[in-house]
Symmetry: C2
Subunit: 202 residues, 2 copies
């Protein structure tokens, strides 16, 4: 016995999200039956407008509401220092640590051959194009300290060398104050701050 | 640094749901930024219509699309046997076990003094009114085998005695094939089937 159609549609919506299995999806849907209609409509509206009201920053690919994200728009940020992160949540975690006085480049993932994600499937070409312009003097690679994140860091370093930019651009990797296999977005600010301070030249 | 407004709205929507903390809510919202707009709109529509397209059954308070739910509409079900459950997900779990040939009464919760939920805050008055009509000959109480579920079962039995119906209505409690403290909706069909078969008179 499946749930009736209107409930099943909500279950289906939840079920495709990461970390939500069929049982949790059903629980959430039935829970929502007892929520005020106005709450459901507010949530529905937020979902519908999520992508309409947001833009990827044309420079760093962070999420914002305008052509350039709040960080790139900030005149006080050091535009010669670019911190490379996997996603926008990692950027937020690093912003909270206040360890980065520069700007960002959001890759939108990491190199993962098992999942069929190569260097050109994330925003590495855009990063290299940005470096080619010559304004950036330092790159801090803050991808996750796991297999995919390390591979991504290594690939970027190699490409910068190939492009003959290793003389003018200092490349470093975020310090391993972080436990191996951990997620940047769940690390506390202090750990992230130390990791940023303790970055090492590659 | 909070997320930008359109993203924060989606985070807020997730955060009020049971079992979803602030970090999971943020993860889900950012994940959704990479989902196709059409998927988001389908989900939004499902949420908006969830309550509009569903009705509580006027007899048993199960979730349905019409005045009476599919179980109550089924001519093959034994209308003299009522299985009392806490919520619609418990009903679905019992339906899957095929252990109930009768119909249901969905309480919409359990008596929980700590949370300020008394007998009249769930659908016990409606159950008693239904029994007063005289058609029901057997009541199987399938509330969860935990403190609140047991208290709810005891209360219902007392009320039936008080109303002088214990002569004409046989009341039983679902068999304890279930582990104490467990949730009915997560139990497997076999366990539920045995529990229904092994019910004992109260």
């Amino acid at each position: 016995m499946r749930s009736i159609r209107p409930v099943q549609k909500v279950i289906d919506g939840f079920e495709i999200l990461p970390g939500i299995g069929p049982k949790s999806a059903a629980r959430l849907a039935y829970y929502m039956l007892n929520m005020p209609q106005e709450r459901l409509e507010r949530f529905a509206e937020a979902l519908e407008n999520l992508k309409k009201d947001t833009k990827f920053c044309e420079l760093c690919f962070n999420v914002g509401e305008e052509q350039f994200c709040p960080v790139c728009q900030d005149a006080n940020r050091d535009k010669t220092l670019v911190c490379v992160v996997e996603n926008a949540l990692d950027l937020i975690a690093i912003e909270k640590s206040e360890g980065n006085k520069g700007v960002y480049h959001v890759l939108g993932g990491s190199i993962n051959p098992m999942a069929g994600i190569g260097p050109n499937d994330i925003r590495i070409p855009q990063l290299l194009a940005r470096l080619r312009l010559g304004e950036v003097k330092e790159v801090v690679i803050a991808t996750n300290p796991n297999l995919e994140g390390e591979a991504t860091a290594m690939y970027i370093v190699e490409k910068i060398k190939e492009m003959g930019l290793s003389e003018t651009v200092k490349v470093s990797r975020i310090g391993r104050g972080l436990a191996t296999g951990a997620d940047i977005e769940f690390a506390d600010g202090q750990t992230l701050l130390r990791a940023l301070e303790g970055r090492r030249v590659m």
